[in-house]
C-alpha cells in the first residue's frame, strides 16, 4: 500500500488525517462507480451481483486498450463497453421466465472474472499509459497536503456522475420510468411500459459505470493488470448501495467512508504506527458491519428500498 512520504511541519495526527483523505479519494473511486451503477440497476427493481465480474473485465479491457492505443481514455470507454455487454447479458437472461437475478448475477460474476483472466494473460507485464491526475493541493506549501490532494481524474468524473445520476433519477422522464418500474411493476404495466426493457437498459447503464470503475484499478491505482487486482470491491460496492439506501449522494458518502477506513492502516503506518497493521486494514469491513447492524431492524423494512426489489422471487 502506498505510504505517504514527505515532511513539512504537519503533526502526526494531521498526517494520518491527510493520509486518510487522500486514501479515501483513491480507494473510493471504484466503489463509487460500481455503487452508482448498481444504484441505477436496483432502482429499476433488479439486483446485479455480477458487477464484480464487470469490474475485473473492465480493468482488463481498459488496460489492454490503453496499451494498444496509448490512450487511457479510450481504455475507460472500452471498459464501459464491456460493462454494457455484460449488463445486457444479465438483463436478457433475467427476462427469461423463471430466472432468478441473484443466481444469474453470481454466475456472471464468476464468468466475468474468469474471462478477464483468460483474455488478460498477455497483458501481465507490459506497461500501459495511465490516467492523469488533477492537482487540487496547489494552494498549500505542504508537500503532504499536495500529495494527498493529487486527485485522479476519474474521481472528479465520479463526482460529476453522482450529480448526474441524482438529477436523472429525480428530474427526468428516464428517472421517473426507472423508479416506477422499480417501485411497482403493476403501475408500470398499467401505464404500458415494457418492464423487461427498462430493467435491461438500467442493468446496461449500471454495467457501464461498473466497467469504468474497473478501469481505475488497472489505469490508476494500483495501475497495472494482474489477477489479484480486485479484492472483492465489486461485491462490497453492491452492499454499499443497500447501506446508502439507494441514494446516489449517499453512495458517494458511503464510498468515501469506506475508502477512508481502508486508508487508516496505511496512513498510520506512514507516521510510524506499524503494530496492528492488518487489524486496521480490516477497519472498513468492521465499520460496514457495525453500521449495517446498527441501522437495520428485525421488524422494520428498509426505508427507500425499491418495492420490487426482493432477493428471492
Amino acid at each position: 500500500m502506498g505510504a505517504q512520504t514527505g515532511g513539512g511541519g504537519v503533526s502526526a495526527a494531521a498526517g494520518v488525517a491527510l493520509g486518510m483523505v487522500g486514501g479515501a479519494i483513491r480507494i473510493s473511486t471504484p466503489f463509487l462507480f460500481v455503487s452508482l451503477g448498481e444504484c441505477i440497476t436496483e432502482k429499476s427493481g433488479r439486483v446485479n451481483l455480477g458487477l464484480e465480474g464487470t469490474l475485473v473485465m473492465g480493468a482488463m479491457a481498459a488496460y489492454g486498450v490503453s496499451y494498444l492505443t496509448s490512450s487511457p481514455w479510450l481504455g475507460v470507454l472500452a471498459a464501459g463497453g464491456c460493462g454494457v455487454v455484460l449488463g445486457a447479458l444479465h438483463g436478457w437472461l433475467c427476462a427469461r421466465p423463471r430466472v432468478n437475478d441473484v443466481a444469474v448475477g453470481i454466475a456472471l460474476m464468476l464468468f466475468g472474472v474468469g474471462l478477464a483472466f483468460f483474455l488478460g494473460k498477455p497483458l501481465i507485464g507490459p506497461t500501459a499509459p495511465h490516467l492523469p491526475s488533477v492537482s487540487l493541493g496547489w494552494w498549500s506549501a505542504s508537500g503532504q497536503v499536495r500529495s494527498a490532494l493529487q486527485v485522479n481524474a476519474l474521481f472528479v468524473l465520479g463526482l460529476v456522475t453522482t450529480a448526474a445520476v441524482r438529477f436523472v433519477l429525480r428530474k427526468t422522464r428516464w428517472g421517473l420510468v426507472i423508479r416506477t418500474v422499480g417501485e411497482s411493476a403493476d403501475a408500470a404495466r398499467a401505464m404500458g411500459y415494457d418492464i423487461a426493457r427498462v430493467r435491461l437498459l438500467a442493468t446496461m447503464a449500471g454495467g457501464f459505470l461498473a466497467g469504468v470503475g474497473g478501469s481505475f484499478l488497472s489505469l490508476f491505482y494500483p495501475g497495472s493488470w494482474n489477477e489479484g487486482l480486485s479484492s472483492g470491491q465489486g461485491l462490497m460496492a453492491v452492499a454499499l448501495v443497500i447501506f446508502a439506501r439507494w441514494d446516489p449522494v449517499r453512495c458517494l458518502l458511503a464510498s468515501l467512508l469506506f475508502g477512508g477506513a481502508s486508508a487508516l492502516g496505511p496512513a498510520l503506518q506512514s507516521v510510524g504506527v506499524t503494530s496492528g497493521y492488518y487489524l486496521f486494514n480490516a477497519a472498513p469491513y468492521v465499520l460496514t458491519l457495525a453500521i449495517i447492524v446498527l441501522t437495520s431492524s428485525r421488524d422494520r423494512a428498509l426505508l427507500g428500498q425499491p418495492a420490487e426489489l426482493r432477493m428471492a422471487r
Partner: protein
C-alpha cells in the same frame, strides 16, 4: 393471437347528428386460458353518460372481459368499438389514447411517490426534464376543479385506502378519460366512503364534474361489482356474467336483487348448512390485553388492543383493510412480535410458539393461505401434516418422518373435506384457491380446537366454497371453540358473528352484540368518525 378487429382507426368519434352510438361496445369477445374458456362470446354496450354495472361471481369472467377491452391481454375473438368506431387496442396505452381508462382492483399507485408524482406519471407525455414546482402547481389547479381533493405533496403510502381509491379515480380524470372502468371500486372502502365515491361518479356521469360543470364532459362508467346494494343505488344498467357467458342484462330499474342473484348463480344460492346453536355463556378462552404491534415500517399498527373471546362464540372484527387487522393476525399466528401487551389462552400466557399452539390448541386460518399457511412446492399431504408431522404416529423414534402415515392421514381428510386435488402428492400450489383453503381448514380443524383465528377465510372463493367454509366455522363454534373472525366483508361478519368489534387505526373502537348491531353505527366507527 390478436384481437379480431379490423381497421386501426383511433381518435375521438366526434359529435354526430345521428342517434349517438354507444360510448363503448364489445361484440362477441372470447378468451381461453389453457383449457379454461374464461370468456365465451360475451357482448357489452355502454351508453354515453351512464353507469353500467358488471355483475358476476368470482371467476365469472368479469375481470377477463374488461382486461380484454383494455388491451391488457388480447382476446381470442371479438371486436371492440369506441364511440361507434372499430378500435384497435393492443395495450392499456392504446385504450388510454381512446379515452378509456381503468381503475384496477389492486391499486396501481406507486407508494413511495407523492400524489402529484403519481398523477404526472400516469400522463401519456412527459417532458425529458421535469419542472416539479410547475407540475405540482398544475396538479393543484386541477384538484381545485375536482369534487374531491388530495394534498399533491403527500406520499401515497400515507394515504388511507379510501383516499387511494379517490386518487385512482382522479388519475383517470386527470388523463381526460371519458370512459372509466372500475374493478370492484368499493372493496376497500367503508360503506360511507363507498357511497361518497359512487355518488360522485354518478354525478359526473349525469353531467360534468359532480354538478360543477366543466370541459371534461360527461363520463361513462363501467363498474365491476358483486354488491347488489351498490348496483341498485348507483347503476343505470347491468350486465350479468356466469361462468364466462352472458347470463342476462337490463335496466336496473326493471330488475330486483333477487332477479340479478338468480342470473348470477343460476339457481338458489346454497345456504350454510350449519346454524347457530344457542348455549349458555361460557368461560373466556382467548384474552388479548393492551396489545400493540408495529408494521413493517416501524409505525404502530395495533395500539392497546384488548379483546376477550369466550368458548362457543364467534367474535367478528370489522374494519377497513389496513387498520391493523393484518398485524393482529400475524401476532396471533406467531409471524410478528408484539411491541407491548399480553395474550392469554385458557389462562396461560401465549406467545405463539409451536409448543403453545399445540398445547393450548390454537389454530389459524390466515389471509392468502397459500402464502401464509402453506409451502406451495410441497405436497398436499405434507402441508396437511405441518401441525403434527413431528409427533407420533407421523414420526418414529423421534427422527424418521413417515411419508406413508402423512399420506394416509391426508387421504382421509381429502375425502372428509372434499379437497379437489389430483392426489395427496400433488404440490399444494397447483390447487385452486378454494381447495387450498379446504386443505388448510382440514389441517387446522381436524383436531380439537380451543381458539380459531380466521382472517378473510372466504376471500376470492366461489359461492359453494364460501357456504361450506362458513358452515365449518359455525360448526367449530358450536363444538365450543372460541372463534376470532377478522373480515373485510361486513356481510360475512353479520352472517357469522355473535359479537362485533370494530377496529380502526389499530384500536378497538366499538363493540356490540350481533342482536343490537347497526350497520350505520358500525360504518361510522370503521371510518373513524364516531
Amino acid at each position: 393471437m390478436s384481437v379480431g378487429v379490423g381497421v386501426g382507426l383511433s381518435g375521438d368519434a366526434g359529435a354526430t347528428a345521428k342517434p349517438a352510438p354507444p360510448a363503448l361496445e364489445a361484440i362477441g369477445l372470447s378468451k381461453r386460458f389453457g383449457t379454461v374458456l374464461a370468456l365465451d362470446d360475451v357482448s357489452l354496450q355502454l351508453e354515453r353518460g351512464s353507469v353500467h354495472a358488471l355483475l358476476g361471481e368470482n371467476g365469472a369472467g368479469k375481470s377477463t372481459l374488461v382486461k380484454c377491452v383494455m388491451g391488457y391481454y388480447p382476446a381470442d375473438a371479438g371486436r371492440v368499438l369506441v364511440g361507434g368506431l372499430e378500435a384497435r387496442i393492443a395495450s392499456p396505452r392504446d385504450a388510454a389514447a381512446l379515452g378509456v381508462g381503468m381503475v384496477y382492483q389492486h391499486f396501481t399507485l406507486v407508494d413511495n411517490m407523492t400524489v402529484a408524482e403519481n398523477l404526472v406519471l400516469a400522463r401519456r407525455q412527459h417532458p425529458f426534464i421535469f419542472d416539479w414546482a410547475a407540475e405540482v402547481k398544475e396538479v393543484a389547479a386541477f384538484m381545485a376543479r375536482m369534487p374531491f381533493r388530495l394534498d399533491p405533496g403527500k406520499p401515497v403510502r400515507m394515504l388511507a385506502a379510501g383516499e387511494k381509491q379517490k386518487l385512482e379515480i382522479l388519475k383517470q380524470l386527470y388523463l381526460g378519460s371519458s370512459i372509466v372502468i372500475l374493478d370492484e371500486p368499493t372493496s376497500v372502502l367503508t360503506p360511507s366512503e363507498a357511497n361518497e365515491v359512487l355518488g360522485l361518479l354518478r354525478g359526473m356521469a349525469q353531467g360534468g364534474q359532480g354538478g360543477k360543470g366543466g370541459k371534461e364532459g360527461r363520463l361513462t362508467i363501467l363498474m365491476i361489482s358483486h354488491k347488489f346494494r351498490e348496483v341498485m343505488a348507483f347503476a343505470d344498467e347491468v350486465t350479468v356474467l356466469r361462468r364466462g357467458r352472458l347470463a342476462g342484462r337490463g335496466r336496473v330499474a326493471d330488475l330486483t336483487p333477487d332477479a340479478m342473484a338468480r342470473m348470477m348463480v343460476g339457481e338458489e344460492p346454497p345456504r350454510a348448512t350449519q346454524t347457530r346453536q344457542a348455549g349458555p355463556a361460557r368461560a373466556t378462552v382467548l384474552e388479548i390485553a393492551d396489545l400493540s404491534a408495529d408494521d413493517d415500517l416501524g409505525t404502530p399498527a395495533v395500539t392497546n388492543f384488548s379483546l376477550r373471546v369466550r368458548a362457543g362464540e364467534i367474535v367478528g372484527i370489522a374494519g377497513v383493510s389496513g387498520n391493523g387487522q393484518e398485524e393482529l393476525v400475524e401476532v396471533l399466528a406467531g409471524q410478528r412480535e408484539p411491541s407491548a401487551g399480553r395474550i392469554e389462552v385458557s389462562g396461560t400466557r401465549y406467545r405463539a410458539r409451536r409448543a403453545e399452539m399445540r398445547g393450548l390448541k390454537v389454530r389459524c386460518l390466515p389471509d392468502e393461505p397459500l402464502r401464509n399457511a402453506c409451502v406451495g412446492a410441497m405436497s398436499v399431504a405434507e402441508n396437511i401434516g405441518f401441525r403434527r408431522f413431528d409427533r407420533h404416529p407421523f414420526t418414529r423414534g423421534g427422527t424418521l418422518v413417515s411419508g406413508r402415515a402423512l399420506r394416509r392421514n391426508a387421504e382421509a381428510l381429502i375425502v372428509e373435506y372434499g379437497i379437489r386435488t389430483p392426489g395427496p402428492d400433488a404440490p399444494i400450489g397447483s390447487l385452486s384457491g378454494g381447495n387450498v383453503q379446504r386443505a388448510v381448514l382440514a389441517r387446522e380443524l381436524s383436531e380439537d380446537v380451543a381458539v380459531l383465528v380466521a382472517s378473510n377465510p372466504c376471500f376470492g372463493l366461489d359461492f359453494a366454497a364460501v357456504a361450506e367454509i362458513r358452515s365449518r366455522l359455525m360448526e367449530a363454534r358450536n363444538r365450543g371453540a372460541a372463534v376470532l373472525l377478522i373480515s373485510a366483508d361486513l356481510d360475512e361478519i353479520f352472517a357469522l358473528a355473535d359479537r362485533i368489534v370494530v377496529i380502526s387505526e389499530g384500536r378497538a373502537v366499538h363493540e356490540t352484540p350481533i342482536g343490537q348491531a347497526d350497520l350505520g353505527i358500525i360504518g361510522r366507527h370503521m371510518a373513524g368518525h364516531a
